[in-house]
Subunit: 909 residues, 2 copies
Amino acid sequence: MHFRDSKRKVDYVLAYHYRKHLTRHPPGAGSPEPMRRFASLALVLNGGTGKGRAEVIELGPLDTLEEEKRLQREEYERNLVEAGLEIEKDPENKSQGLSFVRIHAPWQVLSREAELLKIKMPTKKMYEITEEGGILKTLNEIWCKLTEPLQPQVPQQENTNMKSLSYPFSREKIYLYNIKDKDTFFDNATRSRIVREILKRTPTKARNSMGIGTLIANNVYDAAYPLHDGEYEGQNDDMNERKLLYQEWARYGVFYKFQPIDLIRKYFGEKIGLYFAWLGLYTEFLIPSSVVGIIVFLYGCITIESDIPSKEMCDQRNAFTMCPLCDKFCDYWNLSSACATARASHLFDNPATVLFSIFMALWATMFLEQWKRLQMRLSYFWDLTGLEEEEEHPRPEYETKLLQKKLKNKNIPTENANEDEKEKLTWGDRMPGYAANFGLILFMIMLTFSAVFGVIVYRITTAAALSFSTNETTRSNVRVTVTATAVIINLVVILILDEIYGAVAKWLTEIEVPKTEKTFEERLILKAFLLKFVNSYAPIFYVAFFKGRFVGRPGHYVYVFGGYRMEECAPGGCLMELCIQLSIIMLGKQLIQNNLFEIGIPKLKKLFRKLKDERTEPKEMDTNQSKDPQQWDLDYILEPFTGLTPEYMEMIIQFGFVTLFVASFPLAPLFALLNNIIEVRLDAKKFVTELRRPDTVRAKDIGIWYNILSGIGKLSVIINAFVIAVTSDFIPRLMYQYAYSQNGTMHGFINHTLSYFNVSHLKAGTQPENSPFAQDVLFCRFKDYREPPWSQNQYEFSKQYWAILSARLAFVILFQNLVMFLSVLVDWMIPDIPKDISEQIKKEKSVLVDFFLKEEHEKLKLIESFIARDKQKHKSGTKGERIRAASFCQFNRSQKGSFASFSSQHTEV
Amino acid sequence: MHFRDSKRKVDYVLAYHYRKHLTRHPPGAGSPEPMRRFASLALVLNGGTGKGRAEVIELGPLDTLEEEKRLQREEYERNLVEAGLEIEKDPENKSQGLSFVRIHAPWQVLSREAELLKIKMPTKKMYEITEEGGILKTLNEIWCKLTEPLQPQVPQQENTNMKSLSYPFSREKIYLYNIKDKDTFFDNATRSRIVREILKRTPTKARNSMGIGTLIANNVYDAAYPLHDGEYEGQNDDMNERKLLYQEWARYGVFYKFQPIDLIRKYFGEKIGLYFAWLGLYTEFLIPSSVVGIIVFLYGCITIESDIPSKEMCDQRNAFTMCPLCDKFCDYWNLSSACATARASHLFDNPATVLFSIFMALWATMFLEQWKRLQMRLSYFWDLTGLEEEEEHPRPEYETKLLQKKLKNKNIPTENANEDEKEKLTWGDRMPGYAANFGLILFMIMLTFSAVFGVIVYRITTAAALSFSTNETTRSNVRVTVTATAVIINLVVILILDEIYGAVAKWLTEIEVPKTEKTFEERLILKAFLLKFVNSYAPIFYVAFFKGRFVGRPGHYVYVFGGYRMEECAPGGCLMELCIQLSIIMLGKQLIQNNLFEIGIPKLKKLFRKLKDERTEPKEMDTNQSKDPQQWDLDYILEPFTGLTPEYMEMIIQFGFVTLFVASFPLAPLFALLNNIIEVRLDAKKFVTELRRPDTVRAKDIGIWYNILSGIGKLSVIINAFVIAVTSDFIPRLMYQYAYSQNGTMHGFINHTLSYFNVSHLKAGTQPENSPFAQDVLFCRFKDYREPPWSQNQYEFSKQYWAILSARLAFVILFQNLVMFLSVLVDWMIPDIPKDISEQIKKEKSVLVDFFLKEEHEKLKLIESFIARDKQKHKSGTKGERIRAASFCQFNRSQKGSFASFSSQHTEV
């Protein structure tokens, strides 16, 4: 963890592979020069330990590419030293291998950069956080007592009621800060952040490129990472933060505990801290919605016996003769045979789901509001208030593209560097990228649709094929078989396409060549989200809103693919099928993705990597390093951190499952909750044990994810409105009960929903072939509101159809606007900034002003007293002291005056 | 404009009335003390000019209240002097009168406060603003050329492509700033802002209160205001900013010019600058919408001849015999007699209005987006980026209430000031205020509704009464007379209630005792907006959505108030009436409010004030002051500035008229545009000539108004959807053309919309009494979709009714979601921060870092060279110089080290 002197801390590590070719090249023209340069550098770097010099002699002629890389490394490291960083290198004493450059930032650099980056540091001044008085305080205390076993055992600041005033670090006001030890004043995360900032900023002229990003992209360096705090396992007593995190957070054994958010933030930085805070809040919010979901489900279970429509459907005496489900091979059937699905469908299709989907829409709003508040609270405690956006460096890929463009534009061959720097990629340069994006995204979406379509075709054809079957059991289980296999096919397609789309989205974003890392991330997220969203929900949308709506009617069915009838919903309604589809896709996706992709594949990758490393690296390595593996060696083996996007994406898609179709599947929040309890620890484990320490990134919010969440929340309102109005039987039942029923009860509802069809109107060749009771049937029934055969406009939509349609649409309008209004109300009623925090922030400001004024006053008084004493001394003093006083005053004045006058004053001396 | 020494600038003025009672009081116990105190103060204040001393002798015993006030003034002014401000007072040489305290802030105070307030000041560093290249630049130049006559002739910075880097003022970095003259480095607005900040902060212990606000509220001072820059009229050549503003902005003569926004901001501060920028943008945005509105109107005019439904209605041959409009006294009538209204209604009820309302919804979104961008642009150029919210002082009323509460809680009688300060008003204290608010607002809304209801009653009864009339002309003009008078009554009621509601909202907000000025303003705005919104739109909502919907049907009319039939819409449809209602209320409101309230009443007030002043102040005043009226005398006569709320409110209500019902009145934007062109100059004139100079307030945005605007924008989507779907005949026509028409044309539409009624089914006593052709009529027609008398379910809603209702509702859903989606898309596509500005901000940051690093480097080099030279000298120098160098280094080190060590070092000397 330290340089060889065991004093200077390693703040950052650069790793690279070096090769020394031992093949003899004739000593070329350019060869001696770099050799000499390298030799001198080695001298500088190794601090004259002699080892460097020994090496130079060993140096054979280098491969051109390797030489280029080495030169770039040399130049870069020289520039780093110039920027004030201190560097330690291992001797490259083998023909090829891995070497590390360890970087230490001395106090001087840290303080300068902290000032430039405006890093807020705690000052000496502490102030009390106002607590709520009265009942709230007691409640809070009780809550703390109750949840004590759930709190992670992390050492906390002893006095939680005090917060030290933070102020952007300034060397001129250094007396404000509580600096006990200059080595530990900035914590590890801050130190590595500062070093990274310098690494990013330092240029290498060789190829006119900027920063470590380009160098890694060009393979000059392999990796650049800050070090972990130590081992996370092991019996030795020296507790480090990583170990603490592992014990109190990153184990499944502590799944019931709260997360130590402050420690996570301290170790991994604000951005990752915010992710886990968000995930924690989301998981907590899933608890009430799970409970309500279970209640709604239980309500369905309990009322199933008293539900009149399903009773009527199951009643054998009613004997509704239904029209055949397929041409020729299917027979007339009795509605009571679909009794089971009708009963099952009541579980999810009851009035309680309407309330539940209103609840969930408000829940989503509440969740987002609470998140905004938590975010504010965290910003306050993490001193992020007033954080300005940091300047961002262009991505290496952008710079490369720019370079290419410059090289093309050879009509300006002069070395006008300034002019060139201003150049940027115009719309014309990006056009092909955008076009490719647009085209490919469209293509991908079409691909998804065709996958969905393919499954539909599979369902229709298989159903038809199976119904030809002579085997009675096959025929009776047609629907179950087809549905189950189709959903599984859907699931597999979704999983495969999901992975493909992730890669495609990344590739597409790279084609676009966004300028900064931030835009890259945002665009990648948008694209990936769009593709994965469509992929995950397309089959569900189909079932919810399209399936069974284009069937036609008996005698006038809609045929597709030359003779296949469009598929219908089960007699219990499409809601049941929607529910099955939803639950299988959601559960399957979570289980498989969690187990296979998040646990299995990383393990495989690690194994593969280990094998490869073992194969490529000869044994000499082992003898050298295994005896004393340093932290940088251990960390190098770990996987690099590649961003939070996949973690967020998984959760957002899940959030969609929880909110979008919640009207049809009230148990979704429960399954999400169960998944997330595991997910939190899974992610934690990954971060603590399997990844290199990520660069700490300051972030005030979760960025574009918030917009996506809020978009899903809004979309969920309209989708749920339609699910209730169109997919479920809620409105027809309501209409029947209050408008058509003779006695205000639901008796006769089933009869009301079924239209009559005169079997003699069936087209020739579509009549059931082997029907035992074809002779007895005059009219068969089908589910629709159409005029009976004996009316003037037979089989036209009946007045009831239009009335119920009006009611459905009116419900959509009412529901959408009511819920939107309630959401706006909730949004407006809950202030974005918690009241105590906003008061605290105001208080902090006034404390700061007071503190400054006081310091100012003291300083002035001190200077005055100093001058006064000097004057007194001056009266009775020596000549020398007189001069000193004068010089001090002069300096003091010049400090207050302009610096220009200061410089002129002193250069004239 | 200056102190008597003609050097120090007057930055702020406090005005107060003083009285010296000449009635003899026995010299009390407490009297000598304050007298002595005052004498000493007067000495200090008048700088020993002798005048003060002369006065003390004149002093008679003071009235208790006046004495109290005088003491408070004394103490307050003493505190101000202590805070570093310089004060000049007029001698109080009359028994009573107006006196001014003039305040000047010296450099020392200005620089200290500027640092505390983090006021951004321009540094020496200038940088170039990147301009767009290529076509955009040329276009921009052409645009500038074209609009040159429209640009106000205001002196601008010579080099508009350069911007000086701004940085929060810091005395330690004073060398960064371009200080030519310490007197003019801070402009007048900044100076007065700084003084006001001190005035607000300075406490008077006497009644434990803070700042000038409380003192003014307690009548200790009359007024506190910064001075205007001089006269706005007059021939003399000395141009000041006020005059410039008057000439280039605040005259009707320059109505066609752009506003000099930067100058407005410089003179009045950011908040008022933002208002005018907003108003300007809004007015500009009204131009395209007016043009499109006119086109839509013209489209209506042109297509009127080819409109089949109105032709059919006017065709005498069709001879639809309509059912009587009132019982007994009205006769059957021919539909062709309503030809005129049908034709007029086509002007506003045509397919183009649908497109227009989509256009207007997007227009509103675009406007808000553009405003966000303009706001960002202004923030950048006005150096408001990264502006933190300022600490706010509690309102005087809040403090008074708190004091009262403290006095009540006598169980803590100790002088525990610290404990007390933390106390705040709890929910319990505020409960009565909230309850009163809730109750009164509800009452006010009920009042509005009853006013609307009253007008309805007026309409129904008058119509009925007039229809009894035997006079033929009266009877034929019933509808016109009733509508016209009713609208005028509505307008008058709205105008009266508007004024009442403004006062009530203010009063209610004061009852609530909000803590800070900002919350006060926000709550006032919300309340006033709610009340005025309901007031302005209630009658319009009634006409749009309720009128004519509860009429019943012939033979089964709905009767109210014992025998009056509910009012119906004119045969041309309710849209026509909505249009009339809307246009009259909008125009009337604007004309009357502009002329009467904004021009007339202020003039009257001024006149009244002048008269009163003349009466109360004896002539001695005139002789003294009229010969040389100083700026503070002139400004004192002006009206105080009371906030922007009324100005914004007027515009927001107008924005509502422009967007909410635009589907029914496409000319609304045009009228708004005409009004606003005048409004801008009217407001400008008021600010420049009629108001005291307002305190400059920094503001980054227009605050809650933005939310209200965006709320109106969202509401407008759903309202327009309903107006088109429900109020207009758009959907029935569409349905007829594509579903019911035999040949796909509109022929027969009128017939289709009219149902049949068998006159024999009319209830006894409701048949027309004196009908000449009662015998010939078997069936009369009425506008509704009902089953004919010969059907089974006679007079029930027909299938067409339900089908058309479904279509209407589907249209609402489609329209709402489509427009909302488009709005979101527009919102998302237009970045909130203009690209050039965001690049500029990034650039500014990197320029800043470079600038600092460079300065740093130079400073270090300088110090190094200085030390080196000193060392050289030291070798050959005297002892004194050696000491000097050492002392300098010591100081230099201590400056870098902690202040504590500095102090210990030097106190030990």
